[in-house]
Amino acid sequence: MSIITAVVDTAPLLSALILDYARRNTPARSESILSRSQMADYLKHDQKRQTAFMRFFDGIPVILTTSHVIGELQGLQTLKDEYQRGFWLNAMRWLSTKRLDERLVKLLDLHQEETWRPAVCEVGPPDAGLVTLARQVGCFSEEKPLLTDDRRTLYPLARRQQVYCQIVEDLVL
């Protein structure tokens, strides 16, 4: 079953943006981009897996995420100067082809909800916000998953909230 839309966590989104930027460049620049970037360990130095990872994301027509996630990207990406400029220009271009739907999940809205108030305290606003968004848009099946590589925190929280959550690393072998 193919994915119609997916809510995407920071780490896989960052990896997708770095890899998309790299694959649009020449081999020499691509190597520079990848060597200066932080991305998931399972993707480093494995071009077959990188290709599979991007094919997986190419197959997702719409990406949803929260403004928290978008805000986290700049703090996590490690490219500088011209590379950073290229990264963001490419990221915006790619996300527009993915019809990025960026939603604001407000901290004080989470505070209003009995369920989310302890979740914020436990895992922080970005993860609590992602699970909230996943529930709001109906991520309860394979067609609409919440995608993450965070097995430790986000994945168990999402499953407890009946959200259909998948670990990207397990999907792109």
Binding site: A22, R23, R24, T26, P27, A28, R29, S30, E31, S32, Q47, Q50, T51, M54, E82, G86, R93, T97
Partner: protein, 236 residues
Amino acid sequence: MNKKSSSRKKVQAIGPRIVRAWFDTVINPLLDGLEKEQWWLARQNWTWEVQPPGLESIHRVQAYVNRDNLDHFTQHYPNVVRAIEEHDKQRDLLLQRCQELQNAIAGSKELLDLYQRFTTVEALAEVGTTIEKLFSGYTQEQRLHILAKYIVNHTGELPDFYLIAPLWNKHRQEFLALLELPAIRPTSEAADKAGAAMRRSVDKLISLIKEVRQKLAEEHDVPFREPGGVVAQYYT
């Protein structure tokens, strides 16, 4: 007599700690960078880039090393200074030649013809891609410049990872044949000549630096690399 004692004094000033620092911040990072340069140059891939114009993986020596330690190191090895100057001079010349070749190819009617022929909806469908996938957000002029840089770099077959691979791999020979056009050939040959000179200067610098490293290691009982030591990094 005076000259001799001053020279001995200089040598005596170098001990294992300085040698270690030279290895970690000058010699090894430089060798790592030069060996990468050698790899690309052996493939006649000049790592030319348009935006911003430059050679992606062929740098001036200063880019690889700690400059203060380089200054200290070269005070003791003037022959290395000459080889570094030659390397950097050849690098600047290659950069200039690549820029000229880029302009000649990107501005040619023949590249435009190939672009128009190979990027119709049908032609791209045949290789399983679309113009949006390849060049979304770029003007036609930018697209021609993108193709031209792959030609300047004599780019080989590309793995599936690269979005341009279906187009490039299918028509690579025709794109590269542009280098043989009478209007482009002299510029292309000038770039090849600069690339060959660059390669010679890299080979020479590598061999010289390795020779110095060997001597320093044996004289001061310092291993080339410390287990878990400093990993190569760019200083700019």
